[in-house]
């Protein structure tokens, strides 16, 4: 289907099903239960899952295929966000032109940076991209937000003000980003017994776009172009002596992944019309690197898993405070309850960084191929168990013959 082989079609369908059903899957616990803390099915976080999924998918096209490790991709995300918010400010709250503009501007920006950075490879390339991104961040944070020429609005973040022109905005349209009148924030809440599920317009827009770009990524991975990029990673020497000028290919990959980042940035702004400079900082670039490696660089689904994993920690674990802990362990006798809270306390709430750091180490030590590798190992283990069982049954039948 869609020009994909059977395995990829299945993967695409699985991803599609999961994203469509996400409001159910991410809210497995009844709203009033103590476990509700672990629910992630509220609009903002679901949006973040898919948006950062897009970001990581795009990053993986560059890093996973060519092996070029960019430490500056957050700059393209940030540029995309700024472009989108400027579209809101100048023209209309409709998200379509904003998203298109975000992708275009990020594409141009990544073409410029990629053209220069790709003159070098290895860690030199990484540092060049890092340098460009840090420069962009510094400029956005202060220099370009001075009162005379305010392009970014600095630390507060670029936002839409009532006195902005918004030329095509008129009464009757929501005063928030919308898709031809459908506000990105409109949410339908379905109560089923003790459960509650949110269906958010913005989330489904992001999910649809993510499925589209995921499909595109699968096609790129499977095309001769994708193969060529993998060849770059595998053996650049051979490629040079094979009559191929690798630079246009790597540059194309760089720009494509930059446009993915811009798309993610545009969507972030479309869900919440504010563009902060911090999303361009090197830590944000590092985050997408970690997402990709954590999930499994070079795999199709890995980056999405990695993105979900990190965003889940950031948003769920950081909110578990001592009060919540006491609730969890309240069934225990007081002494043990306090002890348990004492044990768990350093790892949640303000300690979520610690848990994340430990998990990075555990994953990379025990699962060299990231989470996807872990999944494959579990699959293999299950199959081998099943195999053993069959062996046993066959073993018991053999002597009878």
């Amino acid at each position: 289907m869609f020009g994909l082989d059977k395995k990829d079609t299945t993967l695409l369908l699985v991803v599609a099903t999961l994203t469509i059903l996400a409001p159910f899957l991410l809210n497995p616990f009844p709203t009033a239960s103590g476990m509700a803390q672990f629910n992630a099915g509220y609009p903002d976080l679901m949006q973040r899952f898919v948006i950062f999924g897009i970001f990581a998918i795009g990053f993986n096209i560059l890093f996973g295929l060519t092996g070029y490790l960019s430490f500056g991709h957050a700059a393209f995300l940030g540029v995309g966000s700024y472009a989108a918010v400027w579209m809101f400010k100048l023209f209309t709250y409709n998200v379509i032109p904003a998203i298109i503009m975000a992708v275009i501007i990020a594409g141009i920006f990544s073409l410029l940076i990629g053209f220069i950075s790709l003159r070098r490879s290895g860690i030199y390339f990484s540092i060049l991209t890092l340098a460009f991104a840090q420069m962009s961040f510094a400029l956005a944070y202060s220099v370009l937000s001075n009162p005379k020429f305010n392009l970014t609005n600095g630390e507060t973040g670029l936002q839409v003000y009532a006195d902005d022109p918004q030329r095509f905005h008129h009464d009757g349209l929501p005063d928030l980003p919308h898709l031809f009148g459908l506000s990105m924030r409109s949410t339908y809440t379905m109560d089923v017994g003790a459960w509650s599920f949110d269906f958010n317009a913005g989330y489904y827009l992001c999910a649809a776009i993510m499925l589209g770009v995921f499909y595109l990524a699968v096609r790129i991975f499977r095309s001769p172009f994708g193969m060529m990029l993998r060849a770059v990673k595998s053996n650049q020497t051979r490629l040079n002596y094979t009559g191929l000028n690798t630079r246009p290919y790597t540059l194309a990959a760089f720009v494509i992944s930059g446009m993915y980042a811009g798309l993610a940035g545009g969507l972030l702004a479309a869900m919440d019309p504010l563009a902060g400079a911090e999303r361009m900082q090197w830590t944000a670039s590092g985050e997408v690197v970690l997402m990709t490696i954590l999930g499994g660089a070079g795999t199709l689904i890995g980056p999405i898993l990695g993105a979900g994993f990190i965003k889940y920690f950031e948003n769920i674990f950081s909110k578990i405070n001592d009060n919540v802990l006491h609730q969890w362990f309240s069934f225990m006798p007081d002494g043990i309850e306090n002890f348990m809270v004492f044990i768990v306390h350093p790892f949640v709430g303000k300690g979520w960084h610690l848990t994340l750091g430990i998990l990075f180490m555990l994953v990379v030590i025990f699962l060299p191929g990231g989470l996807v590798d872990g999944g494959q190992r579990i699959g293999k283990w299950l199959r081998s168990r099943r195999g053993q069982k069959e062996d046993k049954t066959s073993g018991t039948t053999t002597p009878a013959e």
């Binding site: 290895g122 030199y124 060049l128 340098a131 420069m135 220099v143 490696i293 610690l354 750091g357 430990i358």
Partner: protein
């Protein structure tokens, strides 16, 4: 003119910290081929060795003084450090006063030990893994180390003042017959950095151990074939690199009070320094450290910022870009190192 000289001094001072961190980073990279994102954390832990020693020396017993009240109106608990009661107030307070230089003695074994444990326990298993994996695992380690420090010492900076005798300003211009006041401790820091750098170079240049390590850096396999246990030597070099970063941290405390994220603040910069100097080149790291320090200082003068607005924010990165485009392997990089 004084302004110019002052900025040179400032640059040398900043450069000292950059150079020391980059030196360790390059040692680890050059010997082990490992990209160590936890190196900033080692610098930070060094600084916290000084904090720990200062806390330890200031351990106090408390006596309630009914004549004074605390903020709730209860009798004030007056704290007296044990060292003051054992050695008398004068000697005791002098010991506390000198806690930062004394912390060097604590930091060397602690950092070497930490470096060895890190290498044997974790990094060793990552030699053959892609650089991306090394980055992920050392970054994870950096976060963990940082959070542990934050858990015990808080997020707020902690003052670790220089000894009274070494604080204040000195007239460094006296030699050339002009007035040029500069903080004593910063001069100490610069001299200390130069000493360490020379120490490391001498160690590599003039000891058999160092010669083997240098040979191993150039061609690991051949040295391995000669029946030399190069791995153990490299592990020790990791310990040395950790100690260099740690010492840089200990002595940095009086310049700017340590906090748990100071390592991350330096990490990106020191990577830029290493790459500008040329991956794997020790003299390159030192040269680039001082060069970037001085450039950064000059970029922050009013003259520079009015000529090019925002130059002080981007100078380091701008220089990195220019150097890498003009000289593909950095200032003194070797061919073929880390190019793919």
């Amino acid at each position: 003119m004084d302004g110019f000289l002052l900025q040179i001094l400032n640059g040398l001072d900043k450069g000292s910290a950059y150079a020391l961190i980059a030196l360790g980073l390059t040692l680890i990279f050059g010997t082990l081929g490992v990209v160590n994102f936890a190196h900033g954390a080692l610098f930070m832990i060094g600084a916290f060795c000084a904090v720990t020693l200062q806390r330890f020396l200031s351990l106090s017993y408390t006596v309630e003084d009914p004549t004074q009240k605390d903020f709730l109106g209860n009798p004030l608990k007056v704290e007296t450090p044990y060292v003051e009661s054992w050695f008398g107030p004068e000697v005791g307070s002098t010991i506390i006063d000198w806690s930062v230089p004394l912390a060097i003695l604590l930091a060397i074994p602690v950092m070497v030990f930490l470096g060895l444990v890190m290498e044997r326990g974790l990094i060793k298993h990552f030699y053959k893994r892609p650089h991306a994996d090394q980055i992920l695992v050392t970054f994870g380690l950096a976060i963990v180390l940082q959070e542990i420090i934050k858990y015990y010492f808080g997020a707020n900076p902690i003052q670790t003042p220089a000894p009274d005798a070494l604080s204040g300003v000195a007239n460094v211009g006296a030699i050339v017959g002009m007035e040029l006041l500069y903080p004593v401790w910063r001069i100490v820091y610069f001299c200390f950095a130069v000493l360490i750098i020379f120490g490391v170079f001498a160690f590599l240049q003039f000891t058999t151990f160092g010669m083997v390590v240098r040979a191993g850096m150039a061609d690991r396999e051949t040295v391995g074939l000669l029946g030399i246990n190069i791995d153990r030597r490299f592990a020790i070099m990791f310990g040395v690199a950790a100690a260099v970063a740690g010492l840089a941290g200990v002595m940095y405390g009086p310049i700017n009070p340590p906090n748990y994220h100071m390592g991350m603040d330096f990490l990106v910069l020191s990577f830029v320094v290493v790459v500008v100097g040329g991956m794997g080149s020790l003299p390159g790291a030192v040269l680039a450290g001082f060069m970037l320090g001085i450039l950064e200082s000059f970029a922050s003068t009013t003259w520079a910022t009015t000529t090019i607005p925002g130059i002080n924010q981007i100078i380091i990165y701008l220089v990195a870009i220019i150097v890498l485009l003009a000289r593909p392997r950095g200032l003194m990089g070797r061919k073929g190192v880390m190019e793919d």
